[in-house]
């Protein structure tokens, strides 16, 4: 068996793949957080709960309406996005213009309520959610066997991240979003309905989280606490990438996922803290993050 730096090659590839998959979730979630933070200046602590809601939406429409995985990939983000739109309209929008801490506290409270409610209804244990039959099995890549579903997760997340990036960088809507991130009042004075833009942005961010939740359901099971386990890491990713930086969130998400996987191979004891160590170093050396602009 071949080895790389004394590590069996299949173990290395396996951990890189796991790192890429974790990185896919970090990237999708931190992307939504970055978009929301950039425009709304809200640190969305409910993001993990929205990810969990996405997974539960898929689980519930399967078990109560018989709607399967593929439609759920579209429907769950729509449902969670709609809930987020209501939250933004009736709660979050009242907190704009005052200390951002209030938005953080509101979304933190919402996350606790949602997670508590789902734990009450479904218990803390995970509910199984089967991958669609088209994506079961594994494929031999020559140097390793890759479960097809995991490959799909990486590809789907890349497509979603790229699509979101294109939406923000290359469309008129994205230009409104970028400009409003810099100076919302002036953009509104030009005639753009900025309050609506804020609502849609929050809905989009939550929908991204829900999409990630559906993708995660067959891998991690559907559990009320799946979001809170992940969200702390995702916040670290956002800080490393630079608050509000779209590209930073995406690149850092994949990068830290892979780095975490590599740490599991070479120094497993550090694997659960490596991201936070990097965060601490980045904060010391470059407080605005790797891709952030100093303000």
């Amino acid at each position: 068996m071949s080895t790389i730096f004394g590590v069996p090659a299949p173990a290395l590839y396996g951990q890189i793949l796991i790192g890429l998959i974790n990185g896919s979730f970090y990237a999708m979630l931190s992307l939504g957080l970055a978009v929301i933070f950039g425009l709304l200046r809200v640190i969305n602590f409910a993001h993990g709960a929205q990810y969990m809601l996405g997974a539960f939406a898929a689980y519930l429409i399967l078990n109560y309406a018989g709607i399967g995985y593929w439609p759920a990939l579209i429907l769950a983000p729509l449902i969670v996005g709609a809930i987020a739109v209501v939250i933004e309209r009736f709660m979050l929008s009242r907190l704009y213009g005052i200390d951002p801490l209030y938005g953080l506290l509101l979304t933190f409270g919402l996350a606790l309520i949602l997670e508590g409610a789902f734990r009450y209804w479904f218990g803390a244990a995970g509910q199984p959610y089967a991958a669609p039959s088209q994506l079961t099995g594994a494929v031999n890549l020559g140097f390793m066997f890759m479960p097809i579903y995991r490959g799909w997760v990486v590809i789907a997340s890349l497509v979603v991240c790229l699509g979101t990036w294109l939406l923000i960088e290359k469309t008129q809507l994205g230009a409104y979003l970028r400009a409003a991130t810099e100076n919302a009042t002036l953009v509104q004075a030009f005639g753009v309905n900025v309050p609506l833009l804020l609502t849609l942005t929050y809905g989009l961010g939550a929908a991204l989280a829900a999409f990630a939740g559906v993708l995660a359901a067959p891998i991690y099971q559907v559990s009320p606490l799946m979001g809170s386990n992940l969200i702390i890491i995702v916040f670290a990713v956002v800080v490393v990438g630079g608050m509000g930086s779209i590209l930073g969130a995406i690149v850092t998400g994949y990068m830290l996922g892979v780095l975490e996987g590599l740490t599991k191979v070479f120094y497993p004891e550090a694997s659960s803290i490596v991201i936070f160590v990097i965060m601490a170093i980045v904060l010391l050396v470059r407080p605005a993050g790797l891709f952030g602009q100093e303000e």
């Binding site: 970028r178 810099e182 002036l186 953009v187 509104q188 004075a189 030009f190 005639g191 309905n193």
Partner: protein, 235 residues
């Protein structure tokens, strides 16, 4: 000029927080006119523009555009009523390139300039259309700030100190642009400290002091009133 004014401001009061900054401002601008607000720093010129736009929200009085009450409108509806705003700080967006900055304000009515016309009027913007907006020189940023509201079909533009901090040759160039806009029938409300510049384009002047309109006179009287103005403006 006996017809109803295009923009009519009556008894406008405005507040920044608790501080009362405009005290009963009256202002009329007729279609096709260029009107200039003069006054010292802090006299309330910029505040008047911001109040008309609705950026400053705490206002009382009357602001009507073609008879439509602007005071009730949310901020984004004011531009849609037909006003283009060129702020003092220019407001060029760093995360947008020149072309994206130009295309940013939504069209509010028909009859705006086409992108080709704008690039003909401002050839250096065309050359730098892919540059980041804030990489332009101050003069180019000012031209971009003006250019971007010409596209929208706004019937009146509010220009806040377009010549501030710019070299004489650029000021000249911006003056030419305003004259060209006047010829097209554009209505302009200008805030300006530079007399010689304002004289070239203004049909009428308003003089502001301490948040009040203290005088108004036609453009051709500017020279005769120079002594009076120097006293009020302290220049």
């Amino acid at each position: 000029m006996s017809s109803a004014p295009l923009l009519e401001v009556r008894g406008l009061n405005a507040w920044y927080g608790e501080s009362h900054v405009l005290h009963g401002v009256d202002l009329d601008i007729h279609e096709g006119e260029t009107v200039t607000l003069l006054g010292r720093n802090g006299a309330g010129k910029t505040t008047t523009l911001r109040s008309i736009m609705g950026i400053l929200r705490r206002r009382e009085g009357v602001i009507r555009l073609r008879g439509e009450d602007l005071l009730r409108l949310p901020l984004h509806k004011v531009a849609q009523a037909g006003i283009g705003y060129v702020p003092e700080e220019r407001g060029i967006f760093a995360s947008l390139n020149v072309s994206e900055n130009l295309m940013l304000p939504p069209t509010v009515s028909e009859g705006g300039m086409s992108v080709e016309e704008i690039y003909t009027l401002f050839p250096n913007l065309y050359e730098r259309r892919s540059s980041q907006g804030t990489k332009l020189s101050g003069g180019e940023q000012q031209m971009l700030a003006i250019a971007r509201v010409l596209r929208t079909g706004a019937k009146i533009i509010l220009l806040d100190e377009p010549t501030e901090g710019l070299a004489p040759v650029i000021v000249q160039r911006i003056g030419d642009v305003l004259v060209a806009l006047k010829k097209r029938g554009m209505t302009i409300l200008l805030v300006e400290q530079n007399f010689r510049f304002a004289k070239k384009v203004a049909d009428r002047f308003y003089l502001m002091e301490d948040g009040r309109m203290v005088n108004s006179f036609p453009g051709h009287e500017l020279d005769a009133r120079m002594d009076e103005l120097h006293e009020v403006l302290g220049v």
